[in-house]
Symmetry: C2
Subunit: 148 residues, 2 copies
DNA sequence: CAATAATAGTCCTAATTAGGACTATGTCAA
DNA sequence: TTGACATAGTCCTAATTAGGACTATTATTG
């Protein structure tokens, strides 16, 4: 059947798309509120937490892990760098790469903010039982696959 | 058990948070690619599709439906307005409100872009069977509830 | 080896984003 | 009625966002 402007809204997948957007939005805004009293933005925290307990990562690696695109990441790392949280390290073996590593200050902040935020998120995720959580992961991965 | 920087990453809810972010991201980036050949951004399309087949909505209503916050919405509507897609209408019964309505041009664009984008999204959502789709909606709504 | 292709990161632009201050308007209770 | 409070929308700011052009570097292939 042809999709027109008047019947398009009846497509049965629309409630799913909405539910996905709403669930992500609810999570993202609760998550963001957790950083109110820190000097971190969500993206900066994302990078900080990704770099924690590593020996440094390249821009591409950080981008893959955080879903922040390269153009954005340059700016995020710049701002973290001017706060003294991270440093850029040249890689001599392949000079296209740059490694980003936490400074001592970055590590200290990680040690405080990471467990604090996890504890904060846990309050809400604890409302979800193990079974539902497992199902949710399985189903969300199916969604990811369908968009490959 | 106390959460520390070194054990925080072992929290069992973390894979769920990641899966949610990845699923939304996969959807959002596929969705965005659908507007490549149109003169619409994702937010503008969101507003256009929300206003289609209505007699106009207030900023608050549009914000609730699209999840775009008020500060952002002013700018989005401004840009759509300067493209001639929407108009602001004063509401005399309560002068705090402004109604946003599609112009003739906006309606024409809606009639083209809405079914086109729905058809485009359907290609991927059709990979998901009915049963999985229903389960996904149920589970995503549970996630939303846990963040209330 | 030399030309071509691929990869990493930066820079640039327009738009979105959240949040809060601000103005205008309306509601409600004393 | 008037003062306190709530609501709607705009304006402002700093940061993020995607995407593409650009430079530098490395890999591939003829």
């Amino acid at each position: 059947m042809t999709i027109t402007a008047s019947n398009a809204a009846k497509q049965t997948f629309i409630p799913l798309a909405r539910a996905l957007a709403r669930a992500y939005q609810a999570f993202a805004s609760y998550d963001a509120a957790g950083y109110q009293n820190s000097d971190l933005t969500v993206s900066q925290a994302d990078v900080l937490f990704t770099l924690g307990n590593t020996a440094g990562l390249t821009f591409t690696e950080i981008g893959d892990l955080t879903l922040i695109t390269k153009g954005t990441l340059t700016g995020v790392v710049d701002r973290m760098s001017s706060k003294g949280l991270v440093k850029r390290l040249a890689i001599t073996s392949d000079r296209r790469y740059t490694k980003v590593v936490l400074t001592t200050k970055g590590n200290k902040l990680f040690a405080i903010e990471f467990p604090r935020q996890i504890e904060y998120l846990k309050k809400r995720f604890d409302k979800i039982d193990d079974n539902t959580r497992q199902q949710a992961i399985t189903i969300l991965n199916k969604l990811v696959d369908s968009f490959d």
